[in-house]
Symmetry: C2
Subunit: 767 residues, 2 copies
């Protein structure tokens, strides 16, 4: 265990670095040149225009107004000032509920910390066990922890009582929060404007019919079985080829605009390019002419492909979006079983159009279960054996081996200074690389599992990531050794020994976790607000690549709350807080600082920066709740294990009801609240239907829903782009406005807007 | 381990006793006097009339026709002859599917046994390990088992290959059977005549409304939220007091009829009774007069109570049966969530009227989850600590203690012969008593959990009983010791040691389980067909109590398939079969004999004897399926444990995919078939609605459903009884006919008919 001194030093370093980040942020954010990095949300909303167009040349880039520097920290109160209803309106319910997770951390741990410092710290401090046992080296911090209580002491009853108090307090806070968020979700759903997904159900696994096309089959089925409610439907096309053609064209179009601009600036010189690989060699041709013809060819290909997709029956997937005349009809269809075979005509609420993950719509039912089996097995191996391939890579990266295989590198490798640097870094690099791409791997695994919405993908990724963090960060730090070694230990240990082993080493790891919280929590969050990577990227793009306003908007990368990788990390703090609340309460203030800082920062970010790709109406809350419950149970079992090594048998039995109660509490909450996140109550649907009929009796719902669930490549905007391209490309600003506005409308899918953006960026990087 | 000789002796005894039972049955069943014991089903159907009314005096009681004795075993082919569709028509789908469980056992184990004898027995037999190790005493039977293979032998691969083959064969059989039974269920539902439960949904937890009564509240809610489909509703009354009054009256009415009959036989003498305790002392009064006045008083009380229940708002429970105009409307309401709070207005399909368990209809949601928590904890303690109270009782039953507490018993206890008998029996009696009342205890626990249908109670009881049998019979026999000692061992053993410990002792227990199968399976099933208890009870009643034809019908106790206690016992055989298929295949033929005999016997019983109290349309099949899957997984893990003690590490790894595959198979089946047992597809509902509208366009559905879900004490029949009692009691035969016919109609609840019957019996036993 580290000493108080060590912690002090670590705290100093981390407080300084966090303050440094915050200061840098405070200064950078008021520079006009960074405006699009720190306030992209407002640009997308259209309420903030580029500060470049006003004022003198210098003030375009640097803020010379001294008074604003005096108020450089005022973003903090501003971030807190926006009231929650406005926040929901501004950033969506998902974001508003996401920052409430941090608030929940504060609500949970502030009272627990107060109580722990009032009761447990004095109890631990006044017990003189560590002082008596002179042989063991101990530290001041240990005197505040449970380690200072002698084995078999009566003082453990204080800890047991506190474990009960903390558990019931957690129950109260969790139940209350679940209730509040469920109410928020229902109110949000009730107050929402008309949205296509409210009337639409996704039907998967439509069985084949030899006499009818998919479209006819769908129409007949629903016209018969939902006679009074069926309105229309939209079949799903397999348009992946077409989508890639559209992407390619967008990239080429940007290049065309670029060369046209260059030509306009310097009319004498016709810009030329080489047609070969990456433009490095090959025939020299006139650039504008080349791109114009290439795009024309692509347009023809696209038209052919579009024709093919629409006319070829095999391009129609056995899935469809079926729309109903009323929300009641849609709610009924989404919640019921359609035919006696539950594996065909599977209905579920359609995700909102932006949220659809199109490529997964055609996976058949049987393949789904096989995919899930394989991914479960893969996740197991990934979690417990991820060190194996990394160790392999590390051993391959051995310099002597490299020397033998690639003898021509010998002179370089033989240099001593370089050698030691490589030897020191290489093994670490493989691991770091793996950890960086881990969320992407997990997300790919979720994609393979076949979820059909982006929000679903994010939720599944979060579950997988939490398992990984729990096994490899939490358990891996407590019991040093790889996950596989742990697994081996656990299998060969008796059931009651496992919590004992972990529980025993828990108090000794407090210092480590305190340092972890400061590095990952404090400095990490402060770095988050600085947005170092988007800042650098924006300026690189702005300097070298931005040619049009459209490009500048694309260079602006608002990012979004990455639920899949951020939420599991928060859960780790909940786990640490609950585990150490009874054992080493001194850890709690560090967690409270993390939650406060993170709450502040993320509230600021969702107000000014992030642009969510979809709105799932807080559908992730049951997952958040469940993982806190898991953390609570783990903390109880570890406390049980710890106490049972302290010769306090009676107290161990006194703790046994806790996990049972917690599991029961979980089921109570599940029954009470979870249906609100899966089903949609008929009463609410009926109320909304009646209201809408009264307020808008002449609405043509069929026309409203007509194009809502058309594959992005077929959507009006792109159709228009295609047909009217020649006129449009002369006026890039017009296109820019369109794109900007589309970025925030619900009818656009992320696949379309973001992939278009990325393609644009990538193609621009090619010379 | 027992020797082949021991098994031979045991087999001899059990075959003889089984044959004895079968012979006795063959003789007894053709005696006319026993006709109502062995063919009650046909009496209830009304297709068989009492053989007493025809022929000579002697032939009324004893069958003198010698030729029938020659054909005394022909019940066996007859039992098999009835084709399945007719069986379903005759006995209901529940019974038909129930006997298919035995058939499934045959389908599963006959091919497994053939394969095991062709492959595994030769492999085991030719391996000479046991012969080489002269020190260990072994037996012929061990040479056929896996014990004969030496540690680390390559021959284990044969067992591993067979484990895979058996697993996949089990998958195939289970999947196929699930499919067949789901089809049967759907066809049964589709072909059924109109039934009230097809149009009705049970609504629980109706929230309080200060302005409206429950009835008004229900009507308004459904008239608004199911505008086009709502038809009518029936509120639920708390009529438990009234029900007990009706029961009491029924008993007294029987006595009145009895004394009136006596008076009619012997008109000079007025029968008298004493009014005191159990008729043993007190004032002597005229019996007919006494019962007549008492019944009149009861009638008045009943009328008052009835008035009170109907008029008192607090007697109305917050539950209602809501009927819809179409099955489509009912299917929609049963499958959807009604309001944003999922704990109120909970809807589910109404059980058929006979199947409703009325007392549980008013349990509030919150109390439900507490009840389930308590019952889960109670089940845990019952399963693992049931020996504690029994040991206590046994120690209390110590004769010396009794002597001290009750000194006046001293002379009796001091007698040596008596003493030894009591000492020998007392401890066993407590355990036997406990095992006899165990199903009743488990059923009471299920009742406390708050299930609202009798079929649900049976299913939950079966789950609990299976857990008990698995822990206390299977594990308890393998690892000798009480369940609590096992639990203690398991907790203190490492995770990989547990299957090893059990797996290691599995082969040694084969002889024990063979004997168990013969005693419990062979003789037990043969005793079942003899119906010894109902036979004796019928003759006692017939001799001493039967006065009217109505009484004779009530004395006839057809019984029913007790799913709650029979099904878990079958599951034990599946477990034994799957566990020993690879380890000691010699056990399989014994199980096959059991399944064949049981199939024969139960098919005969459901054709001729049992009268089911409800029809759940095979809703129990997912449970049956799940428990066989559990047995399969247990068998795989135990084989894993067994092989890992045989120094065959590679083979252990080769077995690891089996449990994973099995769990996956379970989820595949669950997704594919289980919805058919929970939901009702809208397509089927629409088809039935359209058909019914076409075939019966003038049907007044409201009138048809009017009284379907009225509490039994309010039902037409009893109302009529009450009002027109004075006329009716003069003609008991008329009442008898009514009752008899009601016993089979769906509108009657079991609570009514059976409790009425019991009360009648009990009151008759009082002098």
């Amino acid at each position: 265990m580290g000493s108080l001194n060590d912690i002090g030093v670590a705290a100093g370093i981390n407080i300084l670095s966090a303050l440094g980040f915050l200061l840098a942020f405070a200064v950078l954010r008021i520079q006009p040149i960074n405006d699009r990095v720190y306030f992209p949300k407002w640009y997308l909303k259209g309420t903030r225009s580029s500060p470049r167009h006003i004022g003198a040349a210098l003030s375009k880039f640097v803020n010379a107004d001294v008074s604003t520097y005096m108020r450089f920290l005022n973003w903090m109160p501003v971030a807190l000032k926006m009231p929650e209803p406005e926040l929901i309106e501004h950033a969506g319910l998902d974001s508003a509920v996401y920052v409430r997770i941090y608030l929940l951390g504060l609500k949970l741990f502030v009272p627990i910390a107060v109580l722990a410092f009032l009761v447990l710290v004095p109890v631990n401090w006044t017990s003189g066990t560590l002082e008596d046992e002179k042989s063991i080296s101990y530290d001041e911090i240990d005197k505040l922890s449970i380690s200072n209580i002698g084995t078999g002491s009566k003082r453990f009853w204080a800890h047991i009582a506190m474990a009960y108090v903390f558990t019931f307090w957690t129950f109260y806070v969790l139940y209350h929060e679940y209730k509040v968020i469920t109410t928020m979700r229902l109110r949000f759903l009730a107050n929402q404007k008309r949205r296509p997904d409210q009337f639409t159900v996704l039907v998967k696994n439509i069985p084949e019919d030899s006499d009818e096309t998919v479209s006819e089959h769908v129409q007949h089925f629903f016209a018969v079985n939902h006679r009074d409610h069926y309105l229309s439907h939209q079949v799903v096309y397999n348009a992946n080829t077409l989508a890639s053609l559209v992407e390619k064209k967008t990239g080429l179009q940007n290049w065309l605009v670029y060369y046209e601009n260059q030509h306009a600036k310097n009319p004498e010189k016709n810009p030329t390019i080489k047609t070969g690989l990456w433009g490095l060699w090959g025939e020299k041709v006139d650039a504008v002419e080349y791109y114009r013809t290439t795009i024309e060819e692509l347009c023809k290909q696209e038209d052919e492909e579009r024709e093919k997709v629409v006319s070829d029956p095999s391009a129609i997937m056995p899935a469809a979006f079926v729309s109903f005349k009323s929300q009641w009809g849609a709610a009924v269809c989404a919640q019921t079983q359609q035919t006696s075979n539950p594996t065909v005509w599977i209905t579920e609420w359609a995700p909102e159009p932006r949220d659809v993950y199109w490529p997964n719509l055609a996976i058949p039912f049987v393949s789904l279960s096989v995919r899930r089996l394989i991914m479960t097995v893969a996740l197991f191996f990934l979690t417990f054996f991820f060190m194996v391939p990394i160790a392999l890579v590390q051993s391959l990266a051995n310099l002597d081996d490299i020397e033998r295989v690639l003898p021509f590198l010998k002179p370089i490798i033989q240099r001593n200074s370089l050698r030691s640097i490589i030897q020191g870094f290489l093994p670490g690099i493989a691991l770091k690389l793996f950890l960086i791409i881990l969320p992407t791997i997990l997300r790919t695994m979720s994609k393979i599992e076949g979820h059909i919405s982006l929000s679903g993908l994010d939720r599944r990724t979060a579950s997988k990531y939490f398992l990984f963090l729990f096994v490899n960060v939490f358990l891996g730090s407590v019991i040093t050794g790889t996950a596989f070694q742990q697994l081996d230990t656990f299998i060969h240990q008796s059931a009651n020994k496992i919590p004992e082993t972990i529980g025993e080493s828990i108090p000794m790891k407090a210092t480590f976790f305190i340092t972890y919280i400061m590095v990952d929590g404090w400095s990490g969050i402060a770095a988050e607000v600085l947005r170092l990577k988007p800042l650098v990227m924006f300026h690189i793009k702005n300097t070298f690549l931005v040619r049009t306003d459209q490009d500048r908007d694309q260079a602006m990368d608002p990012g979004s709350l990455d639920f899949g990788s951020n939420e599991p990390r928060i859960q780790l703090y909940f786990l640490l807080g609950l585990v150490y609340a009874v054992v080493t309460p001194i850890l709690l203030p560090f967690i409270i600082v993390f939650f406060s800082l993170a709450y502040l920062v993320f509230r600021h970010q969702i107000i000014n920066v992030y642009n969510q790709q979809y709105e799932s109406c807080a559908q992730f809350w049951p997952d958040v709740h469940r993982r806190i419950i898991i953390a609570l149970i783990v903390s109880q079992i570890l406390l049980l294990g710890l106490l049972s090594t302290q010769e306090a048998e009676k107290s161990t039995f006194a703790l046994l009801p806790l996990p049972v109660l917690t599991i029961w509490f979980h089921y109570v909450c599940k029954g009470r609240f979870e249906p609100a996140y899966i089903k949609f109550p008929l009463q609410e649907a009926m109320v909304k239907d009646t209201l809408q009929r009264a307020t808008d009796p002449t609405l043509n719902l069929r026309a409203y829903l007509k194009d809502a669930y058309v594959h992005p490549v077929f959507q009006g905007g792109d159709m228009y782009d295609l047909v009217a391209m020649d006129e449009e490309e002369k006026d890039p600003l017009l296109v820019a406005t369109k794109r900007r506005s589309r970025m925030n409308t619900p009818v656009d899918s992320r696949l379309n807007s973001s992939s278009g953006t990325n393609e644009g960026e990538f193609s621009r990087l090619r010379p």
